[in-house]
Structures are given as C-alpha cells and as structure tokens.
C-alpha cells in the first residue's frame, strides 16, 4: 500500500520533474541557437555540465540575509512545481494524486508561488533582488486572477474540480476549440508565473538577474530547475485543461500527453526567445485592462456553451 500510494507517485513526479526540466533546458538552447546565439558545444550535454559546474561552485553569502528563507525559497518553488505535476493526469488511471479538488489546488500553487518568489527576492537582503521580488508581487495577483477565471471555465463543462474529469469532459470536443480564449490566456499566465521571456520581470536583465542576481552554486541550480519545472507543470496543466490530456487516436494516452506537452513547451520557449521583455508598466496595463476582461469573457463564453450543450 505504501509502495502504491506513496513511493510510485513520488517517483513518477520526480522523473517528470527532472526529465522535464532537462528538456526545457535543451529546447531553450536549440531555440537560442536558431535565434542566433553562438553555436558551440553539445546542446544535449550543456545543461548537464552547467548543472555540474553549479554543484561545484560555492553558495555565496550576502550581508545578513534571512538564511532560512533564502535557502528554502528555491526548494519551495520546486516543490510547488512538483505539486502541479502530481495532479496532472497521464491517463484515466495513471495520475500521482487524483485529488477531487485538483483544479483549486493548482490555483493555490499559483498563489503560493507569489509568496515564494517574493521571499526569494526579499530574503537575500540585497537591492536588485528586492526590486525583482516587488515587481513580481505587483504582477502576481493579476496572473492568479486570470488563470483562475480561465480554469473555472474548464471546470464548468466537466461539472467537477478534478483534472481527470476535466479531461473526460473533452471526449467530444477539446476545450481549446470549445473555449478558444482559454489556452492563449493560460499560456500568457504561464510565461508570467515562470517569469520567462517577455514576462521575465522578476529575474530580468535590467536588474542583473533580479531575484536570482545574488545566488550562486547549488541554490541557483535548484532555482533554475524549479523555473524550468514550473514551465513543464504549466504545459502539463494546459495540456490537461485545454488539449484533451490523454485523449487521441492511435497512440497510448501518456504518449499523447507527452506530445502535447512538448508542443506547448515549444510554443512557450519560442515566444520567450522571440519577444522582447515587456515594460512593467505596460504589462500591468495589459493584464488588468485587456487580459482580465478577456478572461471574464472566456468564463461567460464557457458558461453559455455549457448551458447550450
């Protein structure tokens, strides 16, 4: 029983986490190469050697940091990503924890991420990290709201807050077609939550790395892995909520999930390399004035479609 309920799910999540983070690193390097970064070295080996380098580097200290929070924040962010991957179903029966309120749990992962990112910036007791942390908090609330409205939209036709039910409800028609606004909005939130590419305002170059600008060595490795894993978790949830999860002809369910996740990841990483970083002010306006009303609209649309069906 312990093996079934504890060890196997844990193993599953750990494998997804590490393989996923590795794939993100490789894909991102491939994209960077396509966008003109100097090619050299082995793309498949580079993330691993970089990880090894960070493991051999010392974790530095700043003046009077909040040690506990500073060291815990990357680990907690990784744990949040792991929770996201744990509630994501690979097939009707293959899911690490099939909580009946998994959609809400994912919402709380997003909310807790705000706390963790702020802590990471705040606890280093340094200037640029602090600004990065504040920036994220200022934006984080809008990300959470948009994502929750969109996810309530997919819970409506499923009449359940459970991701397995959400997938089951897409048997006839995937939510990406049933609720056309949902997926784009959710992906934008994903870029924001992992502060990737155009929405990288917390760890940005104009802050010399933002919340991560003062960390080195193993904690930095954990932070990088956590960001990549969160992106994987996002693509997993997007696959589940909008792209019909394990549904699809010919291939077995889990394979379909992998294919769809890879597709979502590629789109996200492509956007990340293609677009410049948004101005924070513009980003706030975009979130509250454009995307939040759109997410209302998506919800109303979802409700109307659910009634009509």
């Amino acid at each position: 029983m312990i093996v079934d309920q504890l060890i196997l799910p844990l193993l599953m999540v750990l494998v997804t986490l590490s393989v996923g983070a590795y794939i993100v690193a490789v894909l991102d390097r491939l994209m960077a190469g396509a966008f003109g970064a100097p090619r050299g070295g082995n793309v498949w080996l580079a993330p691993l050697t970089r990880g090894a380098w960070l493991l051999t580097q010392h974790a530095n200290a700043t003046e009077a940091p909040d040690w506990r929070a500073w060291r815990l924040a990357p680990a907690l962010y990784l744990a949040l990503a792991a929770i996201g991957l744990a509630v994501m179903p690979w097939s009707a029966s293959l899911v690490a924890t099939d909580l009946v309120t998994s959609v809400v749990l994912w919402g709380s992962v997003e909310a807790l991420a705000t706390v963790v990112i702020f802590l990471h910036g705040w606890s280093a007791n340094a200037l640029l990290t602090l600004i990065g942390g504040y920036r994220y908090v200022a934006l984080g609330l809008s990300y959470i709201l948009i994502s929750m409205f969109v996810l309530i939209g997919v819970a409506l036709p499923a009449e359940s807050l459970q991701f397995t039910q959400v997938v089951a409800s897409q048997e006839g028609l995937w939510n990406v077609l049933r609720q056309p606004l949902g997926l784009p909005l959710f992906l934008i939130v994903g870029l924001g939550m992992t502060f990737w590419g155009p929405l990288d305002l917390a760890d940005s170059t104009d802050l010399a790395g933002g919340t991560a600008s003062e960390v080195s060595g193993p904690p930095r490795l954990v932070w990088d892995i956590a960001r990549a894993a969160m992106l994987v978790a996002f693509s997993g949830v997007a696959t589940t909520a909008f792209l019909g999860g394990w549904l699809g002809p010919w291939l077995p369910g889990p394979l379909w999930v992998i294919v769809k996740m890879l597709a979502v990841l590629s789109v996200l990483l492509l956007l990340g390399r293609w677009l410049p970083r948004l101005a924070p002010e513009r980003c706030v306006t975009l979130m509250w004035v454009v995307l939040l009303p759109l997410s209302f609209l998506a919800l109303v649309w979802a409700g109307a479609v659910a009634l009509w069906e």
Binding site: T205, A208, R220, R282
Partner: protein, 422 residues
C-alpha cells in the same frame, strides 16, 4: 572520486565571465559575446571568471575590490590590457584579443579541474560599518524604526514625503561603475521609490568612448566617405547590441554585432530591422520616456539631437557629402523610441552613402568640422554629457530609465588607445 568525476564533467561547461570594463575595454566584450563556449553574465555571483578589460582608473579601485570579492569560490581573475595589482598572487595578464577567449575558457577549465587555485578575497569579511544601536533592544532609533544599523539608514523616509502619505520605501543606493546596465565606468547615486526613479545623481562619468581612427584622419586629410560611413555604422551597431541585450532580445543583439563585424558597403540592415519590428521591440519594450528638451538635445548633439527634431549635421556642410545627395534624417519625438528609430535610419543612411561613395570614389572635403557618430566635432571632441541624466531620469520607471541610458550616447569621445578595430 565522485567529486573528481563531477569536476571533470563540470569543466566542460561554458566559461561564465563577468566583465569589469576599464577604459576602452568594450572591444573584449564584443569579441566574447560572439564566442561559443563563453557566457557573459550580468552579475558577479553568476561568474567563475572575472575579466578586467582595459585600464581601471584609480578612483574605481575600491568598487573593483568589492566586485572581486563577490565572485563565489572557486574563481579566477584575468587582466586584459590592464596592469594587475601587484599584491595579488597568481595573476594572468593577456594582451592579445585573439588569445583572450581561449585564455578565459582555459582558466575556467583549470579552475574546475583543480589545476589552478581560486583567487583569494581581498577585503575582510565584515560589515562595512559597526552596529550602532541606541534603543532598549539595540535598535537604532525610537520604537523599532529609524536608526542606522551597520551605518546604513533603514529603507524608510524620515523626510516629509511629497508623493503620498505612505512612507513607501525610498531606497537610496549607489550603482556602478561596473553595473552592466550602465555605460562602462559610470556610477550614480539613485533614490528609487518603488519602481520609480526619484533622484539620480551621476557620481562618476562614463569612460570616454574610442572613436574609429578614420575620424581623426579626416581632421588631417580628405578620407574616403565610404570608410567614414562604415565606421559610423559600426559605432551605432555596437550601441544597438548593448541596448537589445538589455531589452531581452539576445538573438537580435548578436545579429547586430555580427553585422558590425562583417560590415561592408554591401551590408543591408533590412533583416535586423524586420526582425526588430516583428518582435514588437518598438511596441512592447520599455521605450517610453527620456524625451529631450530642445536645449538638452542641442547640448548633447549627434543622433540624439536629430531624434529630437534638430537637423544639425556637419555632413551637410561638406561638398563631398552634398554631391552624394546627403540630407539629414530626423525624428520628432525625441524620446527613447525615436532615438532607436533614428539610429536605425542613420545606419541605413550610412550604408547607402558608403555604397554611393564607393561607386563615386567620393572623399570628404572639409577638415575643420567633422560629424562623429557621437556628435559634431568643431573645435573640440564631443564632451561628456552624463550630467544630463540627472535631469532626465527622475520620474522614469526603472526599466525605462535603463533603456533611456542605453539609448543616449553620453560618454565623451577620445582617440583609440590600441590598434584600429578590424
């Protein structure tokens, strides 16, 4: 055993380099950005090799010591065209640009394999000031607020706040002279309120920027316009590189640099321009703000002035240029976005002029007035304009502020110290 294996594996990673730029050290930066196996990082915490490129003036020794000590163990220090400090052990000095990338990669590798000892700290590991407790519990002031723990005022505003009733954190700090987001060598005292610059006072002016020797030659004899215009485009493209990197467009920034490296009269800017427009650089990025008043624009001169609508360009007084059909391009807004549009337009114009000049074998005719990429050169070279930032920065958001600094060429111009760029 396992550790050895890990280190061996780690030694194959890219060399992470934090560049500390001295006078005219940028050439190293531009070379390294395009070298595979080298990653330039923005924070000393992320680096394994500290590269001191170019001569560091004595008034920047103290900050250099502090940056030096911020690199996490193990780390190496390389001095490029710069005199290493005598009290350091184990220093490496490189003077040839071509040997630099390999030296950096080798230093990184040897460090990880244990063949090279990590550089040791220079400063003692202690707070810069003692704890100055006053209150009952050792705190600085009344209640739990105020005071100067470790000689540093707490991030709070004891003055009357004109902005709002809340004592929202005014954060005063000093940035530079080695912060990668500022022009090399520049340092400023900044007060931020939230994300907004409340006060900016430039403490150290940026190093003078090297001008291509052809501009100096043009003061002495007629030179081919094609050569002059290519040098101009080269100068502008390299500024575009740092700005695009700051904006998070790494790929585009590198293609600007590549274009600069392989510049010829046949080069086209269309690809880069299309790429920038399609990525939404002009619409999404932090480009609002930093508008120059007419007086400020005149004072600064050059492309920044033309972006603000002034059509001052010494080239229009030169008959050689006039025969090529030269007329200055201008923008009207004068803000950061206009400056980048102006710069792209000027690069395009320079390339066009270079093509025509090469065909006609045109040469300059006036020697007493030269339009350098930095601005007009009549009696003296363009002078430092960094004090302008003190007026321009307050009221801008942090991202806009840095983008504005990147778009303004405020450094003075000077003669190149070493060899001419290829």
């Amino acid at each position: 055993m396992a550790v050895n294996w890990l280190r061996k594996f780690a030694s194959r990673s890219a060399a992470t380099v934090f560049p500390v730029l001295g006078r005219q050290g940028e050439a190293a930066l531009h070379r390294l950005a395009l070298t595979p196996g080298i990653e330039l990082v923005d924070s000393p915490r992320h680096a394994s090799v500290l590269l001191v490129a170019g001569e560091i003036p004595a008034d920047r020794f103290e900050p250099l010591r502090r940056v030096h000590d911020q690199l996490p163990h193990p780390f190496a220090v390389l001095w490029f065209r710069s005199e290493p400090w005598p009290h350091l052990e184990d220093v490496t000095r490189i003077d040839a640009l071509d040997a630099l990338p390999e030296a950096l990669i080798a230093a990184h590798r040897e460090l990880l394999l244990g063949r090279r000892d990590s550089a040791s700290r220079i400063l003692p590991d202690e707070p810069p000031n003692p704890w100055e407790g006053l209150g009952d519990f050792g705190q600085g002031g009344e209640g739990m607020m105020g005071g100067v723990p470790y000689g540093r005022p707490m991030a709070m505003n004891m003055m009357d706040d004109v902005r709002d009733g809340l004592t929202l954190d005014s954060l005063s700090f000093r940035l530079g002279p080695f912060y990668p987001g500022l022009p090399p060598g520049m340092a400023a005292e900044i007060t931020l309120q939230g994300d907004l610059v409340q006060m900016w006072s430039t403490q150290l002016a940026p190093y003078p920027r090297a001008l291509d020797p052809v501009f100096f030659a043009a003061r002495e004899r007629p030179v081919p316009i094609a050569e002059l215009e290519l040098a101009r485009a080269h100068h502008h493209l390299r500024r575009l590189f740092s700005a695009l990197r700051l904006a998070g467009l790494e790929g585009a920034s590198l293609s600007a640099l590549r274009l600069a490296r392989e510049l010829s009269p046949g080069s086209r800017l269309d690809g880069l321009r299309r790429r920038l427009v399609r990525s939404g650089f002009f619409r999404l990025s932090s480009l609002a703000g930093g508008a120059l008043e007419a007086e400020q624009a005149r004072q600064l001169g050059g492309p920044a002035a033309r972006a603000a609508g002034l059509d001052d360009d010494l080239r229009s007084q030169d008959d050689g240029y006039r025969r090529l059909g030269f007329a200055p391009v201008t923008q009207s807004a004068g803000d950061t976005r206009a400056r980048w549009q102006q710069l792209l337009a000027e690069i395009e114009q320079s390339l066009q002029l270079a093509r025509r000049a090469e065909r006609d074998k045109a040469c300059t005719e006036r020697m007493d007035s030269i339009e350098t990429p930095r601005g007009p050169w009549l009696e003296q070279l363009p002078q430092d304009g960094s004090s302008l930032l003190d007026e321009l920065m307050p009221g801008l958001e942090w991202g806009d502020a840095l983008a504005t600094v990147a778009s303004l060429d405020v450094a003075a111009a000077e003669r190149s110290l070493g060899e001419a760029p290829a």
